[in-house]
């Protein structure tokens, strides 16, 4: 079976979520990747290591306009005779996959967390991670958008062949005026390590405790809803049911009590460390490791311990 994977490759490096999507698709059939933009051939060929046989690249346009990308992926699917299309359910996948679903009349499984079961149903998270469900696709063609960090990339093959192709992407009707990447920030939805602070830190002037530890660990920073609502931290750092849902390998929460809405955004983290003065804080029930103590004392100690660990490893 021919499986098509769309990946975003406008930079020098290919994101881990792209390797995850290719690894996933390889479990379903023969993999062709489609992409656009300026990433060089030798970098794209590395997708072969994760199971892609072929990479189709449209060099005629850059950018992430969802209408152009939809047309390009549809063209590639037709060319390859692919009835299954895999996306990473990242911000681009979330904009393109639904459009493509209508264009190709293909049922969309958004936020898949694993491969199809024996009965063909595909697991997804529902109720903001408070539960999971199994989805049956009723159309012949299907689109699967894989939740980032759901599977580990597996290196199995050799280089893929890279072919230029025309995706008939057409024009964009959206003009990009400006693009800003906050300096030094690690994007939260893709971060493997996250350090997060809540109201227990008492004010934005104390955030160096979070920022310093995050920098030392190479982690992204996050916060609880009251912190974002008070303007202590920017909105995009708010994790929880009405903020961003994340699934890092490690989530360190300091001064967050762990309301059900916050847990819904972080309970897919592999390991959770909770630092809180209140040993009755509900977050401890969801934690793997707990430290009952004052974040103002514990965080500097943890920073020192991480520095010591890094120096000796």
């Amino acid at each position: 079976m021919s499986v098509l994977v769309y990946i975003n490759s406008n930079g020098e490096k290919i994101a881990k979520s792209a390797f995850e999507a290719v690894t996933y698709a390889k479990k379903l059939g023969e993999v062709t990747v489609v992409t656009n933009g300026k990433t060089d051939d030798s970098t794209l060929a590395q997708l072969g290591k994760y199971g892609a046989s072929k990479v189709l690249v449209d060099r005629s346009f850059e950018g992430i306009d969802e209408q152009q990308l939809t047309r390009m992926v549809a063209t590639a699917a037709e060319k390859e005779g692919a009835n299954t299309i895999v996306f990473s359910n990242d911000l681009i996948g979330k904009a393109v996959a639904p459009r493509l679903s209508v264009k190709m009349n293909a049922g969309l499984v958004a936020g898949a967390t694993g491969v199809p079961q024996e009965d063909g149903t595909i697991p997804v998270n529902v109720f903001s991670g408070k539960a999971h469900g199994f989805v049956k696709v009723n159309t012949d063609k299907k689109i699967i958008a894989l939740l980032p960090n759901s599977i580990q990339p597996e290196e199995t093959g050799a280089d893929a062949t890279v072919e230029e192709f025309s995706g008939n992407a057409g024009d964009t009707r959206v003009t990009v005026k400006d693009t800003k990447f906050p300096e030094g920030d690690i994007p939260l939805p893709e971060a493997e390590l996250v350090v997060s602070g809540g109201r227990g830190l008492k004010g934005p002037e104390n955030w160096n405790l979070i920022l310093d530890l995050a920098k030392e660990l190479g982690a992204a920073t996050a916060c609880s809803r009251p912190v974002a609502d008070s303007g202590w931290r920017p909105h995009h750092e708010h994790v929880g049911q009405t903020g961003v849902a994340i699934s890092p390998n490690l989530y360190i929460a300091a001064g967050i009590s762990g309301a059900i809405q916050h847990l819904a955004g972080v309970n897919r983290s592999k390991v959770i460390v909770v630092i809180n003065t209140d040993d009755e804080a509900p977050f401890f029930k969801a934690a793997d490791y707990g430290v009952v103590g004052d974040a103002f004392e514990v965080l500097p100690r943890l920073l020192d311990a991480v520095k010591k660990f890094k120096a000796s490893n």
Binding site: G129, V174, A305
Partner: protein, 246 residues
């Protein structure tokens, strides 16, 4: 400016989730439904703000049964002018998008606004699907929007940053935090909502492209391991050797 806002209901954020009928159905017993927060706080209020600034109208549309009327009245109380309900139980994003598109394509709307996702199924699917049906650009995860004549300027979240884009109306826009501030309906709004028009239209019986066949709850977590707050070396050692995450 004619604005259409898609409104969905969702279980209150404190709802304890459970399933029934052999784990094939969400147990609605005792569940309190609210307007999906992203639809209400950001899409609906932004629509009302734009109407206040530029004139025009705000119509809400919901795909659902008479059980959804209470949440639709709440949206009217916040300030929408009128509401439409497509009379069919919403079971699949593809079905919902097709039903909304079927209604919207006759209405010559300048803007179709919706929340970035619902907090129950978290699919983020309807906006993109609707845009494809209506052949409009889809601006996803917008945090800010200004309209000048026939043009809109928006800030949207992209991976690792923020992009400012400009496009001609009509547009489909999915709204995220920052777009507008939540509004609490006042008594006058609540009274007025009772008599605002809520039109029920027949569904086109769009196909369901996907169906949920079974649900489950996550396995309970094992008990937390408590670490001495004076011994952070131990925590780092455990994260390295036991949890293997650093």
């Amino acid at each position: 400016m004619k604005i259409l806002v898609c409104i969905s209901k969702a279980p209150d954020t404190t709802t304890k989730i459970s399933f029934t009928d052999g784990d094939t159905k969400f147990d609605e017993g005792g569940v309190k439904y609210i307007v999906n927060p992203y639809d209400e706080w950001y899409a609906l209020v932004k629509g009302i703000e734009l109407k206040e600034a530029h004139g025009g109208s705000v119509t809400t549309i919901t795909v659902g049964t008479a059980e959804d009327d209470a949440t639709i009245r709440k949206a009217l109380a916040i300030g929408a002018d009128d509401a439409v309900r497509v009379d069919v139980k919403a079971e699949d994003a593809g079905q919902v998008a097709a039903e909304i598109a079927n209604f919207a394509k006759e209405g010559a709307y300048d803007l179709v606004l919706l929340g970035k996702e619902t907090i129950d199924y978290n699919g983020s699917q309807v906006g993109g699907m609707l845009a494809e049906h209506l052949d409009m650009p889809f601006i996803s995860l917008a945090e800010r929007m200004e309209v000048n004549g026939s043009k809109a300027t928006l800030d949207k979240e992209i991976v690792g940053g923020v992009q400012t884009v400009e496009a001609d109306l009509p547009l489909v826009v999915s709204c995220a935090k920052g777009m507008a501030e939540q509004r609490i309906p006042n008594m006058r709004g609540i009274m007025a909502a009772r008599t605002k028009p809520l039109k029920v239209v027949e569904a086109s019986n769009a196909a369901k492209q996907t169906s949920f066949v079974k649900y489950g709850l996550p396995a309970p977590k094992s008990a937390v391991k408590l670490i001495d707050p004076n011994n952070m070396d131990e925590l780092v050692e455990l994260l390295h050797n036991e949890a293997k995450v650093i």
